[in-house]
Every structure is written in C-alpha cells, then in structure tokens.
C-alpha cells in the first residue's frame, strides 16, 4: 500500500482506546501525531500523584480528575483539529456493548488488569473487530494482535495471574487474599525489617492526601526497655486495630464495600497466652534461615489453615524471633521467599488482615505460593509499546494482516534483539472463548454448592460478570442487579444447595450452558462427578483452559 492510501486509511479510521494510563497517555499522543482523527477513549480512573512520573499528559493540578477527559483536553491543545471522545467509565459498563464495539475499525488496549482484558477480548470477538493488546512491567512489554478467524484470541493461552495491584487496593481496600499478602510483604515486612529510609505506602489512604501519616512512623521504633512481646502487641494493635478504625472513619470508601473489622490482640488471645507466647519451649536452632516460629509454637502442618488466634501467635512469635535471633538483619532485610521466618511473618500478617476484611484465610503453603512481586512501570517502556501498537494498528487498518506481528520488548537482548517480532499464533482450536469446544469440569457434585460453581468457576475462572446458567432449557441461575425480588430470592435459595440437590439436579454427565449476554459469550460445561475430591469450598484450584478442562483439587 502506498503512503497516500496509508494516510487515507488512518484518516478514515475510528479507533477505540481502552485505558488512559501509562500506555494510554503515550498511545493517545502517538495516534494523534500519526494522523488519526477520530479517537474514542475509555478509562474509569482518576489521576493520582504516583501517575505523574510516566503519564505525561497529567500534571499536579489534574490530580483527582478523569484520566480520559484530561488526556483528551491536553492532546487537543497541541492537535486542536482532531476529534477525541472521552468516557469516564468502566469498559465493563453495559453501554459499551457489542453494537458500541462494532462502530470501530480497531480496538487498542492499554489496560492494567486481566479481568478487563478478557472482557474486551470477548466483545472484540463478538463484534468481529480486531484487537491490539498490550502490557508492560518494568522494562518488559509486549504488543499482540488478535483478529477473529486469523490469529489466536487473547484467551487462547492461559494467562498467568496478574502480578501488580493498584496501591489503594493494597493499602485500603483489599478484596482478595493476594492483596493482603502484598500488604504484609511489601509494606509491613519492609517497614519493620527493611530499610527504614525506603518510601513506604503502609499508611497511605485513598482520599486522604494529607501528611497525617508521618508521626505514626515512630510506632515502629522499639523502646530500649520494650520487650519483644510488648513491642509486638503495640505493632499488632496499631496496624490491625487502630489503622482499621481510622480507615473506617472515611465513610465514602465503604459505601459499596464490606466494612472491615478492627482487630486488637486482647480480643483474640487471652492475656496469659500473649505473655507466654513462644516462651513455652526454647527454639534451639542456630541463627539461620531455618529459624521457625511455627515449629516453636507447635504448628506443624504448613498446608493447614490456621485460625485467627494461631496466626496472631505466629505473628508475635515471628516478630520476637526476628528481634532476638536476627536483630542484626533488621533494617536491611528484603523479603525472600526462601526465608522461613519471613514467610511465616508475612503469612500471619496477611491472614490477620484478611480476617479483618472478611477474606478467607490461607495456609502457609498457599501464602508462600501467592507471594509475588510488585513491578512498576516506567515511561520509556510505555512509549516504546505505544509506538509498536500504532504500527500494528495501521497494518490492521490497511488489511495488511500477513505482516502483523506480536512484538516483545526485552530487557536483555535475545539474538541481538531488544524488540523481537514474532508471527501471531493460530487460534487454539479448543479455546472455550473463541471456539465452540465444551469444557469439562471435574467436581464433587455432592459437596460443591451452586455458589461455589458460580463464584469460583463461572465468575473467577471464566471471567463472566452477569452469568446465566442453564441445564437444557431450565434456568438454574441468573446474575445481575435488575432481577425481580422473588426471582432473586429463589436463586439465593439455590446458591447454598449442593449441585445434586438443585431443583434440576446437576450430576455426572450433565451439561450446563453458561452465558454472559453482555460479553455475548456462551459456553458448554460437561460435568464429571469425582467423589474422591475433598470438600469443595477451597479446592477449585486449577483451570487449564488450553486443554478445555476445568479441574478440581488434584494436589
């Protein structure tokens, strides 16, 4: 295609950008410079101070305003003659349905979470609009192209669990156990045992930009005559009790969220036990990484989920051992998943916090597995990725599909390459999202409830927001806020029934149809009963979408 028809294709194009953050700012600028005239942009977020180091369209004075709207205004200042339509909204909102997506020639993702990426992927498939998808982590990044019937879809290959979380989710509004882990590891552990000069978000609360934060730092200084148990209790009551009380004062935060419960040590453990904690038997191991609070407390099974009281004892004991046995490390420790005591401390702290926020507790074994790293983004990677997105978008608009590439941005060169293009993969023939292949779910139908199925499989694993579940023509469940009261009550009754006890019993050999009308995604799930599996509540764990098989337990 010659350059005139390329220019023409760009001018005529109507593009939708999802996300006006790190990649989004760079992308909007690059689209504008490349001659795009009609750009729509969706982002639900408002601007925060920590965005300003890379989201270059935003200034201090914009903090608190809509990213999509400010991005538009700022770009129009240097390119006044183009049309940019901002939406300060969630891409999952019903207004952004298949018909909305059909209006665009290409969709460009600059998102930061798996959930929204999956949602956009499904709408792109349903609307048959090509998708250019992207992501960055530190110096790494990638751009991929997804065209129905030509390449794989975003969900053809199973995705690793996302590793980064918005800071306010960690500091103020955790909703998953992993948020508690990140808090315990990157904030509390770092504050207590790491470099004190490192900036730490431990006491940053959303909606509270003031510096009321600083004075509390002293709480972490241990007085000369303060014995470890006293110190531990002070820390405990401060971070799990007092801080939660402070957070609760901000009513706005809890309007649509479950309110957390402040936890004070005195409410959890009897006075006598607090003082005796860990002194019952002497830990005679040498000072090394195998020093263990669990073993000195007699908690032997790392696969077991300990109670709040047990976790509280573990917290105190791990803290005591750090102070008494590894005092020289304090101030320079960094979290290491092979450091037993560190894992124990983080597990205990995460579980106490989880308990406060009504999140299910986890075993040390699971907590260790979940502990991952927060990796943050830098401007340069986002700029590079934005350039690559536009190059792919233009190829899509020119219908130059055979030259579309997935590109990886690497930190260390591979075959001399820092930017490595790869031919797009073919669609996975058994992908439950872009093919019709039914899924197989192995489940104990006598112990698993409909709620387990809806929450853990349909919502969590399949990423549906408002599912409709049918067995043959019989409607078993329907999600959504707009249901009639009596119907909703009826579904609520079913939720706590095990699968075999439903009005239309789900047994081995049953086939369920699960649909999300907004995503226009429908898939069939064949049920296979497995009675040997443990109780269902915690055991839906692996889901291998690539082999179209949802498995339960199996460890």
């Amino acid at each position: 295609m010659d350059s005139d028809s390329k220019t023409e294709a760009i001018k005529r194009a109507k593009v939708l950008m999802v996300g006006a953050g790190g990649i989004g700012c760079e992308l909007l600028k690059t689209l504008a410079l490349s001659g795009f005239q009609d750009i729509h942009i969706i982002d639900m977020d408002t601007i925060e101070v920590s965005n300003l180091n890379r989201q270059f369209l935003f200034r201090q004075s914009h903090v608190g305003q809509s990213k999509a709207k400010v991005a538009r205004d700022v770009v129009l200042r240097f390119m006044p003659r183009i049309c940019i339509t901002p939406y300060h909204a969630n891409v999952k909102d019903p207004e952004f349905n298949v018909d909305f997506f059909k209006k665009f020639n290409v969709i460009l993702n600059g998102l930061d979470n798996l959930d929204a990426r999956r949602h956009v992927n499904r709408l792109c498939l349903a609307a048959e609009v090509p998708l250019v998808e992207s992501g960055t982590t530190g110096f790494l990044g990638q751009v991929t192209v997804h065209i129905k019937g030509r390449t794989e879809c975003y969900e053809c290959q199973p995705k690793p669990t996302p590793k980064t979380y918005p800071v306010c989710t960690i500091t103020s509004t955790p909703s998953k156990f992993v948020h508690c882990i990140v808090w315990a590891k990157d904030l509390l552990f770092a504050k207590l045992f790491g470099d004190r000069n490192q900036e730490n978000d431990l006491f940053v609360h959303t909606g509270d930009g003031s510096d009321s934060v600083k004075p509390t730092d002293d709480i972490f200084e241990r007085g000369l005559d303060e014995v470890p148990v006293q110190y531990g209790r002070k820390i405990y009551d401060h971070v799990f009790g007092y801080n939660i009380e402070v957070a609760l004062a901000n009513e706005e935060t809890w309007k649509n969220r479950r309110r957390p419960r402040p936890i004070f040590l005195g409410d959890v453990l009897p006075e006598k036990l607090i003082l005796q904690n860990g002194n019952l038997e002497k830990n005679c191991l040498t000072e090394d990484l195998s020093l263990s609070a669990m073993s000195s407390l007699g908690l032997n099974n790392p696969q077991e989920i300990w109670s709040l009281a047990e976790n509280s004892r573990l917290f105190l004991e791990a803290l005591r051992l750090f102070i008494e046995r590894r005092g020289k490390d304090i101030g320079s420790l960094t979290f290491d998943k092979d450091d037993q005591l560190a894992i124990e401390f983080v597990t205990a702290a995460a579980n106490i916090r989880a308990s406060s926020f009504g999140i299910p507790l986890h075993s040390l074994f699971d907590a260790k597995g979940i502990a991952g790293n927060i990796v943050h983004a830098v401007a340069t990677t986002n700029a590079i990725i934005a350039g690559l997105i536009v190059i792919e978008a233009i190829k899509v608009l020119e219908a130059d599909f055979q030259n579309c590439r997935m590109t990886y941005c690497l930190e260390h060169p591979c075959q001399k390459m820092l930017l490595m293009p790869v031919e797009p993969f073919e669609a996975n023939k058994s992908c439950y999202v872009c093919s019709e292949t039914p899924l197989l779910l192995e489940v104990n139908t006598q112990t698993s409830t409909l709620r387990d199925f809806v929450d853990k499989i349909v919502k969590n694993k399949l990423g549906m927001s408002f599912p409709l579940i049918m067995q043959g023509a019989i409607l078993i469940f329907e999600g959504g806020d707009d249901l009639e009261e009596d119907i909703a009550a009826n579904y609520a009754l079913n939720l706590d029934k095990v699968l075999t006890a439903l009005p239309a019993p789900v047994t081995s050999g049953s086939m369920l149809t699960v649909e999300d009308l907004q995503q226009e995604l429908s898939c069939h799930i064949n049920i296979k009963h497995r009675s040997l599996l443990m109780l269902a509540s915690e055991t839906f764990s692996t889901c291998n979408v690539a082999s179209s098989k949802l498995q339960e337990g199996g460890v």
């Binding site: 006044p80 943050h376 830098v378 340069t380 350039g387």
Partner: protein, 323 residues
C-alpha cells in the same frame, strides 16, 4: 551512594520508578546534566522521557524557527501559528517540557553546538545530537572525548520508518548483575569516526542492512552538502552510484544495501513515520538512564529499528585492535 537524600516530593513523584531502579539510581539521575542538540520527533520523545525520569537539568539547542515541517511528530508545540510564529524550537520545547516535571531544570541555549567552546561541554554528563551532518556529529563526539570528565555521547537519527542510535560511553565501568551477585564490567567504546571506519569485511556477520544504508545516505548528503533528510526519489541514481562506490571500496556485495530500502528513505525525505519516534526515543531514554545510574547492561554501540520488519537490533561495531 552518598550525598543528599531525595526529598519527600521526589520520593512521592518517583515512587513507581524507584521500585524499578532503586533509590541510588534515582539520586544519580537527579544530578545528571543532559544536553540535546537538534529537536525533532525522536529527540523530543527522548526529552520527555528523561524529564519524567527526573534528571537534574536538560539543556536544549535548536535555534531554527518553527515551521510546518519542524512540527512533524513534535507534541511539544501547539499547532497554532499565533503561538509558534517567530519563535525557536528550543524556546517552545523548553516551555512545554518544564511543565512535565517542575523538579527538572529545562533550559534553552542559543547557538550552534558545533561552534561552541570546548569548556561548554564540561557542564554536561550526557550529550545527544540529532538532525546534523555526519561531520558535525564526529566533531562533537571528538570534543566530548577530549574533555577530562567522561561525557556520554549519543547520536540518533530517524529516516522514514527506520532509526539508528549510536552510543559512545568511552571507557565505561558498571556493576553487571549476575546470578550470584554483581561483577564489575568494563566496556570500551570507539568514537563514531573510528566505528564507521572499521572495514565492512570486519563487521559482525549478518549486520543490519540499515547500518550500510545509513552510511550510504550519510555519505551522499555530505558529498552533496545536503541537510539531513533533504532528499527525494530523484536522488536515487546518484545514491545508487554512491552505494556502488562504497561497496566496491569495501568489497561488499551491493545486495547488502537493498535498493528498496534506499528508495524508501529517499521518498520519505525529511518526513518521519511518527510511531517510530517513541520507539527510538524510548530506547535512547532507557540507555541514558542506564548510563547515568550505572544499572543495567548498556547498549554497545549501535541500535537499529525498522518498522518494516519490526526488529529492534543491537550491533556491536567496534574493532578492539583499531581503537
């Protein structure tokens, strides 16, 4: 690293990147003085990146008045003649860049870097040049090498959808990350003049075709007294002649410098393919951050990107015996 601590304002703003490269790197960045000579789509991308990263100061040199052409791929200047008319590129870019990060001093310096006193360069840790002739680049590079302090030199050029970055860190030592801790690593860079003098038959196998194409175009512009990018497809016969002469002299088969590639560069003339600018400017930004912070393996010593194949390739064109 010793020295003052970062301010609370700095730590709040740079929080996310400190988590990537650490406090020490951030402190070094905040003391670095950068000079950029030549403002175009690629160099303004670089400027944006390092202003956001929080360098100490950025000095811009480009006295050209703003024209329609100079605005191309430049997001720092509003498309409004009443704003830009009669004003220089450095002045206008400086104003916009200051806005990006109030903690970075951004200055516009009048004059031509090629004519500057040698001492002027001592103010800087990093010098980036673009949009000038090969001769000028070589001169500035040599001046940087003659100063007592080590000044990192970068040249960046974009043609159509292709780009080239040249890096000269002279003798550079850094802590290389190994699986078992860090090891001190020394790299020795040739000057631009020495690098391009290396006989083509001594170059690494399968070196990027862009390396040869850039040399042919450069030589053509120099011999014709053209400004960079002052080209059109009418120049093709003369450029092909230039290619033949160079290839014959270097005993290289002309197929290593494809006519289609040369033609593409000629047809584009001064026009850049805009999405290439953030890619080149991003890579250059990362390299400068690495060189200042001493963290990460720096690029040695050429980088090429071509949107046509999408590859971003590092070429080491340094002949230890010839330096």
């Amino acid at each position: 690293m010793d020295g003052e601590e970062l301010t609370a304002q700095q730590t709040a703003l740079y929080d996310r990147q400190i988590r990537v490269w650490g406090v020490d790197a951030q402190k070094r960045l905040s003391k670095a003085q950068i000079l950029v000579s030549g403002l175009n789509g690629t160099s303004v991308e670089f400027c944006k990146n390092i202003v956001l990263a929080g360098v100490g100061s950025l000095t811009l040199m480009d006295d050209r008045l703003v024209t329609e052409d100079a605005l191309q791929a430049n997001f720092l200047i509003p498309r409004d003649e009443t704003v830009y008319s009669g004003r220089s590129l450095s002045e206008l870019c400086c104003e916009s860049l200051r806005d990006f990060n109030p903690m970075v001093r951004v200055l516009a310096e009048k004059g031509d870097l090629a004519q500057c006193e040698m001492e002027f360069l001592d103010k800087f840790d990093v010098v980036v040049v673009t949009g000038c002739s090969l001769k000028t680049k070589i001169e500035i590079n040599e001046k940087c090498r003659k100063r007592a302090k080590r000044i990192a030199f970068y040249a960046i050029e974009c043609r159509d959808s292709c780009g080239e970055i040249f890096v000269d860190l002279q003798n550079y030592t850094y802590a290389q990350k190994k699986s078992d801790g860090t090891a001190e690593c020394h790299l020795s860079y040739p000057s631009l003049e020495d690098a391009i003098l290396i006989p083509w038959r001594n170059l690494p196998r399968k070196v990027s075709k862009l390396y040869f194409a850039m040399r042919v175009i450069e030589k053509f512009e120099l011999s014709e007294g053209r400004n960079p990018g002052e080209l059109s497809n009418f120049d093709l016969p003369a450029v092909l002649k230039q290619r033949k002469e160079l290839c014959d002299a270097q005993s290289l088969n002309e197929s290593h410098v494809p006519e289609t590639l040369l033609e593409r560069i000629l047809v584009a003339g001064p026009m850049l393919y805009p999405p290439v600018c953030p890619i080149l400017g991003g890579i250059l930004g990362q390299e400068v951050i690495k060189a200042i912070s001493g963290k990460g393996d720096p690029l040695k010593n050429f980088f090429y990107f071509d949107a046509a194949d999408g590859k971003g390739v590092i070429e080491d064109i340094s002949n230890p015996s010839s330096i």
